[in-house]
Each structure stands twice: as C-alpha cells, then as structure tokens.
C-alpha cells in the first residue's frame, strides 16, 4: 500500500504520454513519516503527506519582507490561500480536451514560510485543494515557532482547549477537550510547541505552566504522531531524549 501510494505523487496516466514532466522532488522528512490529521490511521504514508520546508523551522521573516510573526492559523482559508502559490503536477502534452486524466494533485507553497503541502488522493482538484490547505495548517503549526516571553505568558485559549480537563489552569469555559481529529487541534498544537520551544524542550517545565503532571503533558504530546515527532525534533535540538 505504502509503495503504491508513494507512486501517487509521481503518478500520471501511462496511456499516451511517454515522458511527463515530474515535479521537482520534495524533501521527504526522515522516518518515521509525519502523519497528518486528515490522513486515516490505517494508511500513514509519506507520499500522502509529503511535505517539506525551504526555510528554517523558526521562520521570522517572510519572503515578502515582512518581519515579525503572523498568526497564519487565525486566517480564513481564503486569506491563507492568498499567501500560497498553487502548483499542480504538470502533465506533458497539450492537456485540455486532449487528455483524460482523473488525477488532480495539488501542491501549495506558502510564500511567507516556504512550507509546501500537497494532496493527491481525492477525486477532484477542489477537494485536493481543501486537503492541502488543511495539511498546510498542520505543517504551519508544527514548523512555525512563535517566540514567547515566559515572564508574561498565559496559555492562549487554543492551547487550553486541547488540554485534558484535569489541568488546574483550564477554566470551565474552555469547553470539552479538543482531540487530534478536530481541525481546531492545529492552533492548540502550535501553541503547545511554542511553549515547549520557550522552555527549551522541558516537558516538566511546560507541565508546571499548564497545571498538569509531566506524565499528562507527555501523553498529550504522544496522542498525535505529528505532534510527537515535532516535539521530539525540538527536544533533540536541545540534546534531550525523545518522548516515547
């Protein structure tokens, strides 16, 4: 399955076009592959969620010259799309009426961060665009770090919403706990990683600030594969052991 899916990214109708122009190869993240929220557990595959970043993980300055941190995840789909270049996998040949091609991969490049998200597995380009956009949100959450001043820090509501109910700083108004399959998980995940980044990867420090036990924060991080991988990369950069 994984191998078949790996080919999807380079898939073209083998019918009449001998040498399609393939997209430039994407950097694949080192194994284990990132799993994204919109991908079901049964089919984690790097091809389904291939992603890369041209830029460093804590992007401060976009190509458009704007400095400072933009809250990309707070943007509407249209606004976020406006910051993206959309590419599709170009087929060779004349296209249009000449061709019957059901595959409609979409590749989004987010200009301010250089993050690329793509989707290939849906039946229409329209849906692939929506999947790619939702993946882009996840990737932004995982890769773009907002600097935090710990002195004045209070966890944002997006973060409170993904915390388990036993957190002592979590008010009743935060509502039920939001899990990884909810689209609102991404902003919470971003805020959690921001905090973890600010405390240099220390789960126990983060746990104190979040009013939870170290074990509870670990479990939260481990509840989502992409969050776990991002947290462990962050910890590895600080010389800490990975959470398992």
């Amino acid at each position: 399955m994984a191998r078949a899916l790996l080919r999807i990214a380079r898939c073209y109708s083998p019918l009449s076009s001998p040498t399609p122009r393939l997209p430039p190869p994407l950097h694949r993240r080192a194994s284990p592959p990132l799993r994204f929220l919109s991908v079901s557990l049964s089919s984690p595959s790097p091809a389904e969620s291939a992603a890369s970043s041209d830029g460093p993980s804590d992007v401060r300055k976009g190509e458009d010259g704007r400095s400072g941190w933009d809250d990309h995840l707070a943007m509407s789909d249209d606004e976020l799309m406006g910051q993206c270049e959309m590419g599709t996998f170009k087929a060779s040949g004349p296209g249009g009426q000449h061709r019957n091609k059901r595959e409609s991969a979409v590749r989004l490049r987010h200009r301010p961060t250089g993050i690329i998200a793509q989707a290939v597995e849906d039946r229409s380009q329209h849906k692939n665009r929506a999947s790619a956009l939702s993946r882009l949100r996840t990737l932004i959450a995982l890769k773009v770090r907002k600097p935090i001043n710990l002195e004045e820090y209070t966890p944002p509501v997006e973060l409170l919403q993904i915390l388990p109910l036993k957190s002592t700083i979590r008010g009743k108004d935060a509502g039920p706990q939001i899990g990884p399959n909810n689209s609102k998980f991404a902003p919470g995940m971003q805020a959690l990683l921001d905090l973890l980044f600010a405390v240099e990867g220390s789960v126990s420090e983060a746990a104190k600030i979040l009013g939870l036990s170290t074990g509870a924060v670990s479990r939260l991080i481990l509840s989502d594969d992409s969050l776990r991988i991002a947290a462990n990369e962050l910890r590895a950069a600080k010389g800490l052991k990975p959470l398992k």
């Binding site: 078949a4 009449s16 599709t88 249009g96 009426q97 000449h98 061709r99 059901r102 597995e121 039946r123």
Partner: protein, 344 residues
C-alpha cells in the same frame, strides 16, 4: 486489500481470470453489436442510461463475493498503474452504498460491475463513463457516452466568471454546454436576478445537462436550449453579461493520435475543431457582438498557446473597435488555455 492483491500479482504468474471474466473478454473481441456501437461489448451491462452512482442500491452481495471481485479486478491491472487501483476503489465507492457492509448493497449486479471494470481496463473506456460521473470543482457531474467529460482545466472558467464585476445579477450563456458542468457551477454563484442559458446541439448533452441542473436544484436559474451555438438565443440578442464556451478545438488531423480514452470513446462532435481547430472558436467570436451587452465579458477555452495567441491577435486587431482587454489566460500547467475579453 489493494496492496495485497497487487503484490500477489507481481510475485505470481499472471492470475487466471475467472471464467465469466474470460467470457466477457472474449465477447469484447467480437464485432460490436448494433446496440452498443461505441464500446463493442455484448451484452451491454449499462443499457440503463441512469449513471451507476445514481441507481438504487438494490443488489445485495455477500462481503466475501465482493472481496473476491476486488481481488480479481485488482489482478487485472499491473501494480505499476496506481491510478487504476485508485479507480477500482472509486468504482466500489460509487457502486456500493457501503462497500464494507455485509451484504454490500450494490447499484448494479456484480456481473455488470465486472463487465464495467473490463470496459475500463481492457477497452480503455473512460473511468468517468464507467461510473457515470466526474468530480469537478465541488460538483459530482453526471456524464455518459455522448457528452464530453469536463476537464480539470475548465474549472478555471468558473473562477473567471466570478471575477467579473456584477456577475451575480447578469444573464450568462454557456454555448455547447455538454454535461452542463459550467452552467451549473456558474448558476450556483449567481444572485436572484442571475440566469444561465445553456445551449447544445447534441440531444444526449441536453438530457445529461438537464439531469445535472436538476440534481443541483438549478432549474430556476439554468435554461437549457437545444440548438447550435447562438441559434437558440435569437430572442436574447444583446442581453448577455457574459458568453462562456469550451467548444471543440482539436485540429481534425490530431484526432487519430488522441489517448484511446478520449479518441475512441468521447464524442467527435465535442472535440473536432476542423482543420486548424478554429472553426467553432471563430464562429463564436463572430457572434459575440450580437449577443453581448456593451461591456459584456467572454471567455473561451482553446487548444492552447498558438490558438489563444491567434485569437487574441485576431480580436484585438481586426475587431479592435468591438472588443477591449482581450488576453490569453494561463491554465494550471502554464499553457495559454483561455481567451477572455470585453465588448466595447
């Protein structure tokens, strides 16, 4: 499931198709029956003009039988063709109310499904004709033999209409509407005063377009008229805010070289643009001034770069007094796919 089937296909000698598959295959090699001139299989598993995905799920099939079908069907395509394995998944998604139920309720007898799959993988019948739809923009457009399958490039036409100032309230015409995909998509964006008049010379297209208009509840917004290009619009001259068309534009000499799914199965009527591919496009350009309001917009899809450049040059030099802002617009593959402009 698919992976195991395709893996076994790569390790084992070619699996023996079941006898009834062989029979279907043999029948595919016999001369076409008069009933199904375009496909050459007999008996025709889809005499019913209702697209597969819209038929009632009235054929219970035990899960093991459906699983066996999946294996047989997957074994017919090489692992090196992942798009065909994906098509099999989509075929089952369209054919079964819930493919994982036991029994699964299919929209066609299992034998018909086998025949349909063979039509696709052996006869190169377009997958869209097999399942009777194409997912286009956010629509599921019903299609069948005799109408052009809407192409992903054409999706951009709807976006261009949406960028015309005041488009919501205008009257639009989609000439040669085919499945009606453009007409329905545009109609869904319009306000209460907006209307689309969709014309087509093909009776099959008229039927299919009518079905799609109904499926999306656009009967009040889309009026379908039977006839060639502008002919059915005599009473609406000068009334249109916009003219949209994806006419046949492939040069006749290029038709034999088309991919079999297109050349063998899609209607020549919707593909053949005459010697240079420009016959219909030029006819459409000539009619623009009489149907468009002053300031009205037009967008045509073309064969690509050369045709678009020619038309832009033609409209902005010869007919400079009639049009302005005529330009070629790129598709997602950076081909100059569309020509757009405004009437003065």
């Amino acid at each position: 499931m698919l992976a195991s089937a395709s893996a076994s296909a790569s390790f084992l000698p070619r699996p023996k198709p079941k006898p009834h598959l062989l029979k279907r295959l043999a029948s595919a090699l016999t001369p076409p029956s008069p009933l199904s001139p375009s496909t050459g299989a007999d008996p025709d598993p889809d005499q019913d003009p209702t697209p597969l995905f819209l038929r009632p799920p009235a054929h219970p099939v035990p899960a093991p039988s459906l699983a066996a079908f999946r294996r047989r069907a997957a074994a017919l395509v090489p692992p090196s063709a992942p798009h065909l394995h994906r098509h099999l998944r989509w075929l089952l998604a369209d054919a079964a109310h819930d493919p994982d139920a036991d029994p699964a309720l299919l929209r066609a007898p299992l034998g018909d499904l086998e025949a349909l799959w063979l039509r696709h993988v052996r006869d190169r019948r377009p997958f869209q004709y097999v399942v009777g739809n194409e997912h286009w923009r956010d629509l599921v457009v019903a299609v069948r033999e005799g109408v052009l399958i809407p192409r992903p490039e054409t999706e951009a036409v709807v976006e261009m209409v949406g960028r015309v100032e005041g488009f919501e309230a205008g009257w639009w015409t989609d000439l040669g509407t085919g499945s009606g995909a453009i007409a329905v998509a545009v109609a869904r964006m319009l306000g209460p005063e907006g209307k689309v008049f969709a014309t087509d010379v093909s009776e099959v297209a008229i039927e299919v377009a009518r079905l799609n208009v109904q499926r999306y509840g656009m009967q009040d917004k889309v009026q379908i008229r039977h006839g060639s290009w502008f002919e059915p619009l005599e009473d609406l001259k000068g009334k249109f805010m916009g003219v949209i068309s994806n006419p046949p534009y492939i040069p006749t000499d290029d038709l034999p070289g088309l991919q079999p799914e297109v050349g063998w199965h899609e209607p020549k009527l919707a593909l053949d643009g005459g010697k240079d591919g420009l016959d219909h496009l030029l006819h459409l350009c000539e009619g623009l001034s009489s149907v468009l309001k002053p300031g009205g917009f037009f967008v045509f899809e073309t064969n690509g770069n050369k045709q678009s450049e020619f038309l832009v040059d033609f409209l902005s030099t010869k007919w400079d007094s009639s049009f302005h802002d005529v330009e070629a617009v790129l598709d997602f593959a950076d081909i100059k796919r569309f020509v757009t402009g405004y009437r003065r």
